[in-house]
């Protein structure tokens, strides 16, 4: 096999990528659950998170080298900044590009077009206002090998991603399973009409769902940007893959999004080992088409109703 020598290295970095995809995919899945629509502008929610965390950390860290507890603090700060940026943008997005159409009961095509318009508006505006060159987020920690598994080096960056993602997933699980909002989301996902008859404020639930997805997507923007830098076009490819991940796991299904992200992250990494890294996106796209051909409902099936 072509990837035997560095299988575990690829596997571990694939998991790290996959977790980021999963965070973005959750935004797609949550919105899909309540609206039955792909949020084409989710890529820009992700991008906003990247920029928000960049501005905060750039101002606070500058050229210093944080250590120890300060590192942890800055990572948390970066996540919070990214999540806030993503959440705000997602909120505005729903208000401007979705709600007026929902009020009018517009055709689904109109929602998709409006979301695409919003996406292009946002990322090109970001390019105009924040410059069109990639910038790198000052690292809150010193990256290095922490330990090795099967000869593969596990870096600090991977551990940060893993811990941060797991914490967020647990929080999301609590929110969806245990709060009023979660109940609202599940109710709307199962049957919006009945939910509204039962007194669920659909507008509010949809808005909050966008924000919830935006928080995760924005945080993912930070985690992604730590390694790859921040640029106005950063949203496109990771989002396309996250969508693939969401479909792979079963869109509308929260666990499916996480599983899909992990599978896609690993599959893509192992795939490029057999070809070249420039084919990475082609592999992900091939997976998307294959899934849609063979099992369009995804590995775990579509359903938000059954919660995380």
């Amino acid at each position: 096999m072509c990837f035997t020598q560095n299988f575990w290295n690829l596997f571990i970095s694939g998991i790290a990528n996959g977790l980021v995809y999963a965070l973005i995919a959750l935004g797609y899945t949550l919105v899909y659950g309540v609206l039955q629509l792909i949020n084409f502008a989710h890529s820009e929610v992700f991008m906003s998170g990247g920029f928000a965390s960049y501005f905060i950390l750039n101002a606070l860290i500058g050229s210093s080298q944080p250590h120890g507890l300060a590192s942890v603090g800055f990572v948390v700060l970066g996540i919070v900044a990214g999540a806030t940026g993503g959440g705000i943008v997602a909120f505005l997005l729903e208000r401007v590009a979705y709600r007026p159409l929902r009020r009018r009961n517009a055709p689904r095509l109109a929602f998709l077009i409006s979301a695409i318009g919003a996406s292009y508006f946002m990322y090109n505006l970001a390019g105009k206002e924040f410059g069109r060159d990639a910038v790198s987020i000052p690292s809150p920690f010193t990256n290095g090998t922490v330990f090795t598994v099967f000869g593969a080096q596990v870096q600090t960056y991977y551990i940060v991603i893993a811990v941060a993602t797991l914490v967020m997933l647990v929080l999301l699980d609590r929110v969806v399973a245990g709060t009023r909002l979660g109940k609202g989301i599940r109710a709307v996902a199962q049957d919006a009409q009945t939910a509204s008859l039962m007194g669920v404020n659909i507008d509010r639930v949809i808005s909050q769902t966008f924000v919830l997805g935006g928080l995760l997507g924005g945080a993912a923007g930070f985690l992604f940007g730590l390694n790859a830098g921040v640029v106005y076009t950063m949203g496109f490819t990771p989002s396309l893959k996250a969508f693939t991940a969401a479909v792979l796991g079963g869109i509308g299904n929260i666990r499916g999004a996480v599983l899909g992200g992990l599978v896609l992250g690993v599959a893509e990494n192992l795939g490029i080992a057999c070809t070249q890294s420039s084919w990475r996106d082609v592999i992900a796209f091939g997976i998307l088409v294959l899934v849609l051909l063979i099992r369009p409902t995804g590995i775990l099936g579509e359903r938000l109703g059954r919660s995380a």
Binding site: D191, P296, T297, E302
Partner: protein
């Protein structure tokens, strides 16, 4: 009248045979071991309380649902019997089985004429190239289609409303238009799903005579779901009664009216003042089940059992 036609139809061959059909959605059984036959030139009525599975039966016969068990054969005694199960709805229509819907589903932005013409043209062969180039065959088919459409509009009494937009037509006319569109596809068997629901007495009488003429003048067999017992008793040669997805009685109108099982089924659902069978109100549970129908998501008409 009904007695004499029954005698005549028993000699005619069968138009459709439903043989031990069972349909499930997840854990819910919508149809259980249904068997029935219909003769050529017969008006067979399917009645039963809400949720008895009448529309599910229609959906099985028209290829929208694929039952897990059983077979449905069109023209079973002819030289070329064809099985319906597993064919897509448009293929089933092409065989010669047309239908209308419980809540009439017209092409509302199109005129009455265009609505019917779409049905008529489904048997034609004009493709995109012929259409773009105005080939002779295209022109011939256009001409033929126009004539046939006019005939059908004349037949249902809508000739003078041909150029009106469907959404603007009054209720009774919408029902007739839907029947004309179905007749346009040149069926041998016409399935009518509650054609008289919501109609006023005059409209009901008109619809009844139209249905009778469909049988007597065009020679089409009619399978009729109807809640209005006046309409059913005056039209039907035979009646099949469903309850909870099972056939509980079958026979001529007078036989069925006396059947204790039928009386109990209706009394059970209407309780105290049970001399009138229930009117169609709201969606029967079977309709709500469509959300769980996996084929609705995967797009195929594959049996549900494969997916679950």
């Amino acid at each position: 009248m009904s007695d004499s036609t029954t005698a005549a139809t028993t000699e005619a061959d069968l138009i459709i045979e439903v043989d031990h059909v069972t349909l499930r959605f997840g854990g819910v059984t919508s149809l259980l071991d249904i068997s029935l036959v219909q003769h050529r030139h017969e008006i067979l009525s399917v009645i039963g309380p809400n949720g008895a599975g009448k529309t599910s039966l229609f959906n099985c016969v028209t290829g929208v649902y694929v039952p897990q068990v059983g077979s449905i054969t069109f023209r079973p005694e002819s030289a070329h019997p064809v099985t319906v199960v597993g064919r897509k709805p448009h293929r089933v229509n092409r065989l010669g089985i047309a239908r209308t819907f419980q809540s009439s589903r017209l092409f509302n932005a199109l005129t009455a004429f265009e609505n019917v013409k779409i049905g008529v043209e489904s048997r034609f062969h004009t493709g995109p190239v012929g259409a773009m180039l105005h080939l002779p065959r295209t022109r011939r088919e256009e001409h033929r289609g126009d004539n046939r459409t006019k005939e059908l509009l004349e037949f249902v009494g809508l000739r003078d409303r041909a150029d009106e937009v469907a959404s603007g037509l009054p209720y009774g006319d919408r029902r007739r238009l839907e029947i004309a569109r179905a007749l346009g596809t040149s069926p041998e068997l016409l399935l009518l799903d509650e054609p008289a629901a919501g109609a006023n007495p005059a409209e009901k009488a008109d619809l009844s005579s139209l249905i009778e003429r469909v049988r007597s003048e065009i020679g089409i067999s009619v399978l009729l779901i109807e809640h209005d017992m006046g309409v059913v008793m005056s039209l039907a040669d035979r009646i099949v009664v469903l309850n909870f997805g099972e056939v509980i009685a079958e026979g001529t109108p007078s036989q069925v009216q006396r059947d204790p099982a039928v009386i109990e089924a209706y009394l059970g659902t209407v309780n105290e003042n049970g001399h009138e069978p229930p009117a169609a109100e709201g969606a029967p549970p079977a309709v709500a089940q469509t959300r769980q129908n996996p084929s609705a998501h995967s797009g195929g008409n594959s049996p549900s059992s494969e997916e679950r």
